[in-house]
Symmetry: C3
Subunit: 336 residues, 3 copies
Amino acid sequence: MEKKYTIATLGSHSALQILKGAKDEGFKTLIIATSDRIKFYQRFTFIDDFVEIKSYTQLLVAEKKLQNKNLILIPHGSFVAYLGIDGNKKITSPYFGNKNVLEWERNRHQQLRWMQTAGLLTPHVFEPKDHIDRPVIVKSYGAEGGTGYFVAHNKKDFTHKIKSFLKKHYLVQEYIIGVPMYLHFFYSPITKSLELLSCDRRYETNVDSLGRLPLAHQESIDITPSFVVVGNSPLALRESLMPKAYDMAEQLIHASKKLIDKRGLWGPFCLETIITPDQKFYVIELSCRIVAGTNLFIDSSLYAAFFYSEPMSTGRRIAREINIAIKRNKLAEILD
Amino acid sequence: MEKKYTIATLGSHSALQILKGAKDEGFKTLIIATSDRIKFYQRFTFIDDFVEIKSYTQLLVAEKKLQNKNLILIPHGSFVAYLGIDGNKKITSPYFGNKNVLEWERNRHQQLRWMQTAGLLTPHVFEPKDHIDRPVIVKSYGAEGGTGYFVAHNKKDFTHKIKSFLKKHYLVQEYIIGVPMYLHFFYSPITKSLELLSCDRRYETNVDSLGRLPLAHQESIDITPSFVVVGNSPLALRESLMPKAYDMAEQLIHASKKLIDKRGLWGPFCLETIITPDQKFYVIELSCRIVAGTNLFIDSSLYAAFFYSEPMSTGRRIAREINIAIKRNKLAEILD
Amino acid sequence: MEKKYTIATLGSHSALQILKGAKDEGFKTLIIATSDRIKFYQRFTFIDDFVEIKSYTQLLVAEKKLQNKNLILIPHGSFVAYLGIDGNKKITSPYFGNKNVLEWERNRHQQLRWMQTAGLLTPHVFEPKDHIDRPVIVKSYGAEGGTGYFVAHNKKDFTHKIKSFLKKHYLVQEYIIGVPMYLHFFYSPITKSLELLSCDRRYETNVDSLGRLPLAHQESIDITPSFVVVGNSPLALRESLMPKAYDMAEQLIHASKKLIDKRGLWGPFCLETIITPDQKFYVIELSCRIVAGTNLFIDSSLYAAFFYSEPMSTGRRIAREINIAIKRNKLAEILD
């Protein structure tokens, strides 16, 4: 028996994981990809249908033409990056997740307000009038895979570097000395279950190459550190820190219902944290959709065996949620 | 048919892995957890029974009350950290592993004697009267997840830093320049098989963040390096180094029977090594129970497929050993 | 029904993965190992047959004696390292892969020509007469697990270090500032399918320990950086970089048919790249056989689920290819 729905996404970011997961859950799959990538996605037999577009913004035209296909669109990091919030809101196909969350995620100051309302520990933010008295990281708005970042170690360094920084909207955040830990959660509004499925850290060029350069070379070679994400590497989290991780995720969901709308946040999301030597999580950023770090776990997420007896990626977990909702006749509750 | 035994542990460290593995092997499972963590552990349906305690030392009272449950207690890193050796010895429930090993593991000087008797290469240890002529790492006694460590690059640096070091019992060890590699073994005294199941390195805050800090920042920001373990990352070991790894593990087991008692070391243990450019393993520490690095492999250990056709974590391997012992009527041989 | 062929390899590098994969695909397995390693390999029950040799060069004698066993030899990194190209060419047993590729892989200048003919981006190479105007890495010929490398940050540093460098044949390559990403491919000349199965980075002593050393220590301790590979760690590749990765691999296969011979490159191979902040792949080296980084994925390669419903290591993929070829009566097409 053929499933009624076709799970679709944009050809980028975590599309392979999403569509592989959808196929494993019994759905038909469709990808909307730019001309230069269509051939690449055709390598994978778990994708049933291919829709070619010339540029990402054409997604809006394409999805409207596909009304008869009974699509459910699964957004990922490229949706906001390429279409903006307005573009996402114009999507007419059923869309997995709450579109009202997008603005709160995109605007760094609103995101900060959300995190603080949830009681999460966040790095100090410097307002334009503030005196910068410690190392800072400057981040432009939007999820652009780590571009548009720079680090300044003091006021003078900041003043110098900001002059050549081309972004208008940015946040000046205290640079926390600690190790990055990205926590991949899934929250089901149907079963009310919250699951930490896996963890990772980003693999960034060129900062992740600095540590391999001996001092003599670092002194002789002028390197501007950059944070362009080109991959991810897996991590396990110390078990005694897991209760706190779950608490943070719950508080965030709870706050989303107060601040954003009644439905709040659901589906996959990520708390991007820095853990300091006193074992505190500083949350430096939120991603309220599937993150690329979950691509490490296509075969099975690190902690998924705690919840599922079959391999369960975050992509498959999304399709599973749709299946659960269909069975319980609650599909409208998880779509927007 | 219900199994006769309930596998139990303390809610921390690798409890989830241990109890998930026990459930997969058909056992009933029970967790003894402090009040602040009970809710967290209740998220996991593979844990059948929950016993709340107010502090870790109450484990001793709790386990005595559970005599009718036919418990087998599986110790992990938190057992010695929170109860001490005396506390562990006072446990009356059947306990997986040899309690006599605990002292040899805990006391850094005895551990060193054990490793040297086994013929393992260890970093030079400086006695109080010795002249410190190279970089050293100073380690307090006990498994405290990487706290109570410091590095000094010469005699002067050591003399300065030891003044503000609050621990009484510590070891001054040569700092070996090389990469860490933690080797996770399991030894079965029933089948006499030795298995290298996986490898990892610790993920430590803040030392694992230093490499991402450009020189200019390291020069401008005063950072005291710390070694607090907050996670783990997976590694494969070069195959040509595996025979040596197995040899070291066998020598250690052999020496344990001479030094400690007739039964010696069994179950999961970890050789914590630094590999130098001449491909030598310096063993810097032993852990004679399941280590947190195995939490990376809940779904299946890196090398487990060499030995098992189903997913096999170290936690499940322990439960498997208990099953093997039960079938062969040799349970007493692996308990203490 | 017993398979007609026995899959064999030399006891080193990725022999365990290769033979485990062969056993999973239903073949008999045989290892040819030096005396000091026979005992180690006997630990693994998926190896059916053991042939002891005194030194690696004795492989040639040993394999000739095994003509009646219907061997298929699977080469790995140790084959060229220990036997040289001539040794490999003298092998009379059926050999998986194209021996003509070996010279193009081994000679760094020919390898460079191959990569450039394929249109791959490669670091600038300095000829003896050239002025060295940037940081360079000096690499001796041959796959020796990262030994025989050094980095020089300028002309003066190079001139100083080359004096004590003992290798005759080497390449002076621009040192690219970016992060390493090793791409593990498999190409089937039977089905014409190309598969990116996994990615890794090498774990090298001592360079991968430098990042954990605080500045004060790096300043006080004189460390000569070395690149000896002792392990590997897993990575996922950013999805938007995957189309380019596949293109590079296809171009390389295409160029191999023009430059080397009609059959060109097939089976497992690895593009060893550095990714720069502008998201370009610099290909620093090719390995035209199974690489040790795939040992991370004995249980299942990171991206294997895209192509296979059962766990699929690179080792098993080789055996699967042999099975496919046998079924289609095309075995000669993949052997040399």
